[in-house]
Amino acid sequence: MERPQAAEIRGLVEPNRVHARVYADPTIFELEMERLFERNWLYAAHESELREPGDYIRTQIGRRDIIVARSEDGGLAAFHNRCAHRGAMVTAAACGHVKNFVCPYHGWSYDSAGKLTGVPLRKSYPHGFVEEPGRDLEPVARIASYRGFVFVSLSPIAIELEEYLAPVKDTLDNLIERAPAAELVKDGVEMRQVYRGNWKLHIENTFDNIHTYFVHESSWDTLRGWEDDTKIRNKPDQLVQMIKANGWPLRDWEKSQIRAFDHGHAINGAYFTGTKIAIDRPEPWFAAYRQALQRRNGAERAEGILSLDRFNTLIYPNLVVNVRYQYIRVFQPIAVDSTLVRAFCFRLKGAPDEMYHVAVRFLTALSSPASMVSQDDHEIFNRIQRALSGDGHGGHRDSWIDLSRGYGMEHRLNDGSVDGMSGVSELALRNQFAAWLEHMTAE
């Protein structure tokens, strides 16, 4: 396949519109894998999955199968899941614990840092062969943890993780601080959905606040017509509350917030203030949780932690964090027109079990394949992809996708971030493409 040149890619992105090829052209997709997903900080694991030396998880970064492990010296290691001998995956398990990774093909073994430790029939290989460099499992270029969130880059990059995360790292800080013991625990269960659309459609949708009013009408309007309106609308169930909130009038969405940051990151918020989603829960366990938080942080600080009015945070390109429900989504591209959505939630160490149950319910409500909410989103992505697919293969017409809602209204703040000045702005989408263009045109 012919690889698109930088000038050609620049021609696909304008300040307030993009060409359909960015969603539909397989050569663009391959370049995204190379330049955006395999040469950038990508979320790979959480340290609570890697407690003891020898603990490991497998994940997909770009097109590569990667192992992230806790090595014998207590450090973190990440390497390609591909034996240095004949290329077989050394493990097919999603996670586990090993003393050594032993390749099932010819028995080459590697320690939990990926270093070669043994080769059966060593003398049958040419003299000095085994000792040559490059016989370990190929390490990734960069690995770093920000307070337990482990990121890797498969290729060398100059920027440090903390600098990359800087504009939105307070989201991760807040998530951790929501745990009375200031520690997050991942239990390991993920929900996985696939849709037949480009990966970018989802991160765009996540910061397109008003789509909810249109896309989710079938659920919020169903709820609105309920005969016992007050009872059902006040049902303390994350799904019902989510459906209800999706039906906020458009003028309320204008009052929500969109902010965009360097590197493509974004947040949306102002969902919990005023008449919107309550921060509190009426049950006694929430009072117990609040008290535990106050004991550690003092009353004022505890309220500050609880009241951070932030819904989704995008850590570009493919990690979305929701602090209120300790909810994480990772968008994993499969092909130009196919995406895997992995979702999970954290347990807040020191919080009552019910806090985790609420997070699990939110996770189920939004990321189960049976979710009444996300399935309408996914159907929209499927339909966009079907409509655009002709443009990716040579193009039968000059097709542009609009991103202009709120264009020109935005306002740059003193800290360098940009406020959309209206929750209906497509600012975050334009900001994503600015970052996209920078990566995609870097040789």
Binding site: D187, V189, M191, R192, Q193, V194, Y195, R196, V215, E217, S218, S219, D221, T222, L223, G225, I232, K235, D237, L239, V240, I243, L340, C345, D353, Y356, H357, V360, R361, L363, T364, S367, S368, P369, A370, S371, M372, S374, Q375, D376, H378, E379, I380, N382, R383
Partner: protein
């Protein structure tokens, strides 16, 4: 009354008429889903009834582990009414299913509930998404209320419950 050859876990024989009643109940239940007659389907549930499709094989905890479905009667009612809403995107047009249930095993469960298991194959078709096949086991916990059997729990364990899926709208 003749006794059937169906034995419960504690070897108490279950009356043949009750076996037949449960078999008919389960067949009718699947038929209502396949016919898209969701209101009478939902009426088969007790007021405290739950529909559960675990996301993990052998899952025992519906609260601390996410499920594909874990819905009470109210939430099921929202789900099924939404299906008919003109703005429904995910089911426009509405998908169709065909259930094939295998031989039912019945046991007396605890708490006075009757427990039945049936192997299940479901073929589902939706325009735009093609045809999918799901296989697994349906487990029913039934209670008699005013002479009628009611579903306290319908649990559907699909064999690929922990695989990635595109969306599932209609309960199996």
């Amino acid at each position: 009354m003749p006794e059937s050859n169906v034995k419960s876990a504690d070897a108490t024989a279950i009356p043949a008429a009750l076996v037949r009643e449960i078999e008919d109940f389960v067949a009718d239940e699947a038929h209502l889903l396949d016919q898209g007659r969701f209101e009478p389907w939902l009426a088969l549930f007790a007021e405290d009834g739950m529909y559960w499709m675990p996301s993990r094989p052998g899952q025992t905890d519906p609260l601390g582990v996410p499920s594909i479905f874990y819905e009470d009667k109210e939430v099921l009612a929202i789900r099924l009414r939404r299906v008919a809403h003109p703005a429904n995107l995910a089911q426009a047009p509405l998908g169709r299913t065909s259930h094939l249930l295998g031989r039912i095993r019945i046991e007396n469960a605890e708490n006075g509930l009757l427990c039945a298991h049936a192997p299940m194959h479901v073929v589902e078709y939706r325009d735009g998404d093609g045809q999918r096949v799901f296989g697994g086991t349906c487990t029913y916990h039934l209670r008699r209320e005013n002479g009628q059997l009611k579903i306290v729990l319908k649990r559907v364990d699909i064999v690929n419950c922990d695989a990635p899926h595109s969306f599932i709208t209609i309960p199996f």
